[in-house]
């Protein structure tokens, strides 16, 4: 009996959480049009979420590409098809690795920054002070941060993929001596706009999800030091799980 109550309690908590996030999302989206009237705020947030994440994205992109080159070459060599390295690696990067890894890195770097910033503003009464000054904090503070993350994610994904392909080329062509012309021509003949569109769409969807989670957790953090810390941790965990879940659903739909 107690177990049943616990289960329904947890299910109720979960449903309440989902409802809370949805309501918050609705409130956020309602404020977006007015938030767009202050482009300078949004530009600053794109800088925070995107430009400041460039170093980690580009470094990881390079290494992921290089590893793909190594593993891909080793695998394809067993079938005598090393020439297909370009194709295989590019498709893997564009369709899966690019969006997913970028999203996880984004959650770790930009997501935590967003959550802790908002959580700290909550804990030091800055958000309440704004409400008292009759300024809606969702419009002034939360929406620009959300939009900044939403715009930055697809761009970061593209940069990650491009650097990744360069990394593959470094390993495959320079290191292993795969024929450069066949590397690029095979890639050219197998990758088309649909694949790139898939990757960009995934980037946008993940960006929406991760940014929403980050600003939600920060805005609703318990106003203590411990509360802000928990909000940051939850951001990363929930963003990661959500990314992989959405990845499966999007891939199933788009294939």
């Amino acid at each position: 009996m107690k177990l049943l109550r616990e289960l329904t309690g947890n299910a109720g908590d979960f449903a309440a959480a989902v409802g809370s996030v949805t309501l918050f999302c609705g409130r956020l989206l309602a404020q977006v049009p007015r938030a767009l009237l202050r482009p300078s705020l949004i530009v600053e947030q794109i800088h925070n979420a995107g430009a400041l994440s460039l170093v980690i994205i580009m470094t990881c992109g390079l290494f992921v590409g290089a590893v793909l080159g190594l593993q891909g070459y080793d695998l394809l060599q067993r079938f005598g098809s090393e020439d297909a390295l370009g194709t295989a690696a590019a498709l893997a990067l564009i369709k899966e690795l690019g969006p997913v890894v970028t999203s996880l890195l984004f959650a770790g770097r930009a997501g935590t920054a967003l959550a802790s910033e908002l959580g700290l503003m909550r804990a030091t009464d800055q958000l309440t002070a704004m409400e008292m000054m009759a300024v809606d904090p969702v419009r002034r503070v939360v929406a620009p941060r959300f939009l900044g993350g939403l715009i930055a994610m697809p761009l970061l994904t593209l940069i990650f993929i491009a650097i990744g392909i360069f990394g593959v080329q470094l390993v495959g062509v320079q290191m292993f001596g795969v024929e450069s012309s066949s590397f690029w021509s095979q890639m050219r003949s197998s990758v088309d706009m649909n694949d790139i569109a898939e990757g960009v769409i995934k980037g946008c969807v993940f960006g929406f999800a991760c940014s929403l989670v980050a600003v939600y957790e920060g805005y609703n953090a318990i106003p203590t030091a411990e509360g802000v810390g928990r909000a940051t941790t939850r951001t990363v965990v929930i963003s990661a799980v959500l990314t992989l879940m959405l990845d499966y659903m999007l891939t199933a739909v788009m294939l």
Binding site: L120, M121, T124, D125, Q126, T128, A129, M130, E131, M132, M133, A134, V135, D136, R140
Partner: protein
């Protein structure tokens, strides 16, 4: 001044409404099963400095949140200039808040802007004033609190007292009708405290606004406030001029005003019998 005591008695009569900016009638509020207010009545007279005091945990900050409409009462009315705060929708509430100014305990300055931008914030958000006008207003307000020279510092570079003074300047930027101070003296050294006291009094008289000060500081408040309310156990237990309340018959008021360590608010947290616990018959 003399009417201060009778204000409390007459708050039940509607005739006193025009004299009071804020009226609270039969307020009940409970959260999580715990009752915080059970039948609170008070009225804040226009143009005066009113102090709200009480032991820790009586819900003074909750009362402020009820007055400003952040939370709704379970029962009872909160009237601001005759308007029932709980009945307003978001837009009307925001419009009402423009007439109020609130000073938070820790200043609550926006940490990513400097002092000037912080004070200019409400002006930029709510008005379309040209930049030169905003500049003049901001500098005037900063001059009033004595921090015009600190206009380009960041909040993290200010001391606690300076923080609160900048916050005061920010609250004053839109010329509100009522100023609410949430624990303005807490954690300040005597000099900074003296500055704040002077500013509170000065703002009130020079600008003919109403001030509400929530604090524990009996000493500072006795010089500063015109009227006080002492809240304990979810109700008002005493009201009037602080000087007159020192010899009050209520035990709790006596304990509070004289700083007695034991009384209606007990020194010992409820526990099992001392000797029994020591001698090992209970764990």
């Amino acid at each position: 001044m003399v009417s201060a005591v009778s204000t409390h008695a007459s708050s039940a009569q509607p005739a006193a409404v025009s004299d009071a900016l804020i009226e609270i009638r039969d307020l009940h509020y409970s959260v999580g099963g715990r009752s915080i207010f059970s039948g609170l009545n008070l009225s804040i007279p226009r143009g005066r400095i009113t102090a709200l005091m009480g032991p820790s945990g009586t819900g003074k900050t909750t009362l402020l949140r009820l007055i400003t409409g952040q939370i709704k009462p379970t029962r009872g009315q909160i009237l601001f200039d005759g308007i029932d705060v709980a009945s307003l929708n978001t837009r009307e509430l925001y419009a009402l808040r423009r007439r109020m100014g609130m000073l938070f305990q820790n200043g609550a300055l926006l940490t990513d802007m400097d002092v000037f931008e912080n004070v200019a914030f409400p002006l930029r958000e709510h008005t379309d004033l040209p930049e030169c006008l905003i500049r003049n207003i901001v500098l005037t307000k900063l001059q009033a609190v004595g921090l015009r020279g600190a206009a380009r510092l960041m909040p993290s570079e200010l001391s606690g007292g300076m923080n609160r003074r900048v916050a005061l300047a920010r609250t004053m930027a839109t010329d509100p009708e009522v100023l609410i101070y949430d624990e303005p003296f807490t954690g300040l050294d005597p000099i900074s405290m003296g500055m704040i006291v002077r500013l509170v009094r000065h703002m009130n008289s020079a600008l003919a606004i109403t001030s509400i000060v929530v604090s524990h500081d009996v000493q500072e408040l006795s010089e500063l406030s015109d009227t006080s309310y002492i809240i304990a156990g979810g109700k008002v237990v005493a009201s009037g001029e602080l000087k007159n309340l020192k010899g009050h018959q209520s035990d709790i008021v006596n304990q509070f005003l004289n700083g007695l360590p034991d009384g209606p608010v007990p020194f010992h947290y409820p526990a099992a019998d001392y000797y029994q616990q020591l001698l090992g018959s209970e764990a």
